[in-house]
Amino acid sequence: MSTTQENPTTSTVGTTRVKRGMAEQLKNGVIMDVVTPDQAKIAEDAGAVAVMALERVPADIRKDGGVARMSDPDMIDGIIEAVSIPVMAKARIGHFVEAQVLQALGVDFIDESEVLTPADEAHHIDKWAFTVPFVCGATTMGEALRRVAEGAAMIRSKGEAGTGNVVEATRHMRAIQGEIKRLGTLDAAELFGAAKELRAPYDVVKEVAELGALPVPLFSAGGVATPADAALMRQLGAQSVFVGSGIFKSGDPAKRADAIVQATLHYNDPEVLAKVSRGLGEAMVGINLEELDDSQRYAGRGW
């Protein structure tokens, strides 16, 4: 027995409460995609609550094509060294070995992400097997609850990453929020039917009906490019936002990062939103969803 560990009878790491508790600490803060230590510093200085370390932002993954994988450990180490805020990193859907590597590197949160090329066409990672918490994307309530049942400590809308187009994130957030309301109106017998329709465990469905919320924090991601986009997602019920390509694909990343932090905090105050929306330079160009081939749509990845 190791003597450097806490006595296991009185202390435990990686419990559900510790993992969900970490997700709670990130609420009302902005999580930003970064690809270099310098970008990580800019994000931290702008008031990001965490950074997502990845090799290419989604807009570049779209442009470059090819298989998108977990980032190089050296690159993740460099970002962990550069900042003192929590560091997240992405593993491919179903790629539990990438997740094992990321946990060994000491990242604070893993995103099992549709932005990377899926590694398993039928299974997601068994997230209960890890001490590090996971966030997963969802487009619907059923998908969200399957991920919670697999052990996700946070859910985010998928949106359509790397497009700078918020329409899909809006669709997913409205779908999930609408379903939370509907479940709250169902009686016990109907909840069994709902669990079957949603292809999600009854216990988790019942918990949502009782709480009037997901059992884990609900964030938004995928296409947030402006302060107003961030505030839109908050007003639609997201507890905070991930911003990917939107910041470092824009004309003035430091200023835009700061503006999105302010908009996320003051999402209900149009005067603040007007003020922070000024003078940001160019936003990322963006892609209309009709221009995207089905094979280029990431939100459909995940089962």
Binding site: T3, T4, Q5, E6, N7, T10, S11, T12, V13, G14, T15, R17, V18, R20, G21, M22, E24, Q25, L26, K27, N28, G29, E44, D45, G47, A48, V49, A50, S84, I85, P86, Q103, G106, V107, D108, F109, T131, V132, P133, V261, L265, H266
Partner: protein, 202 residues
């Protein structure tokens, strides 16, 4: 009976809603505090858990740091959890170079002392003056108290393992701080203690 006190929760970042929910269950009035003038309307304040460097940065940016210091100096009761404990510390270790704190409690707090998230844990912690069982404490990238001044009282310590003896709960006059998160475990006793402090009954 006098009217119930109003307790604010500093709403810059973190698990604000969880504190509001626990306080609501204790029969006090609550409000979120995002602007300095809102501090004039509260009888007590909670600084929640979250990311202390982010919270500090936003407090400076939104002109809340000096008003917070002023109210603490004038005796406003404040309770800080995790990041909130760091905000109440007069001195911090392992913060960022530009990290400011509100201060008020004569102590040195080491940020992320228990490690990164993979080392976050739960444990039972006995709190002096709290009746009943030890509290179930969640430590999430948590700080500990490295040292305290003569007027500060350590009221909770880690009881076992290699971190045994580390101070994780302190009180100094009307200021209270814990490294852990009672707002996440459904045990309202520490919030109850703080409400009593606000009422001048503890």
């Amino acid at each position: 009976m006098s009217a119930p006190p109003t307790i604010g929760v500093l709403a810059l970042q973190g698990d604000i809603a969880e504190h509001l929910r626990v306080l609501g269950g204790l029969g006090v009035r609550t409000r979120s505090v995002l602007r300095a003038d809102q501090l004039d309307d509260v009888d007590g304040l909670i600084i929640p858990g979250g990311e202390s460097t982010t919270m500090s940065k936003l407090a400076v940016r939104y002109d809340l740091m000096d008003p917070l210091r002023k109210h603490v100096g004038e005796g406003l009761p404040v309770y800080g959890t995790c990041a909130g404990m760091i905000m109440l510390a007069d001195r911090i270790l392992d913060g960022t170079a530009d990290q400011q704190t509100v201060g008020g409690i004569d102590m040195t707090v080491r940020r992320n002392a228990f490690g990164r998230q993979s080392e976050s844990f739960e444990a039972q912690v006995g709190i002096d003056g709290l009746a009943g069982d030890p509290v179930e404490a969640l430590f999430i990238r948590a700080p500990w108290v490295e040292s305290i001044g003569t007027d500060t009282v350590a009221i909770g310590q880690v009881s076992s393992g290699d971190r045994a003896g580390r101070i994780v709960a302190v009180r100094q006059g009307s200021l209270l701080a814990t490294s852990f998160h009672p707002e996440l475990t459904g045990d309202a006793r520490i919030h109850g203690l703080f409400v009593d402090m606000v009422k001048g009954q503890a």
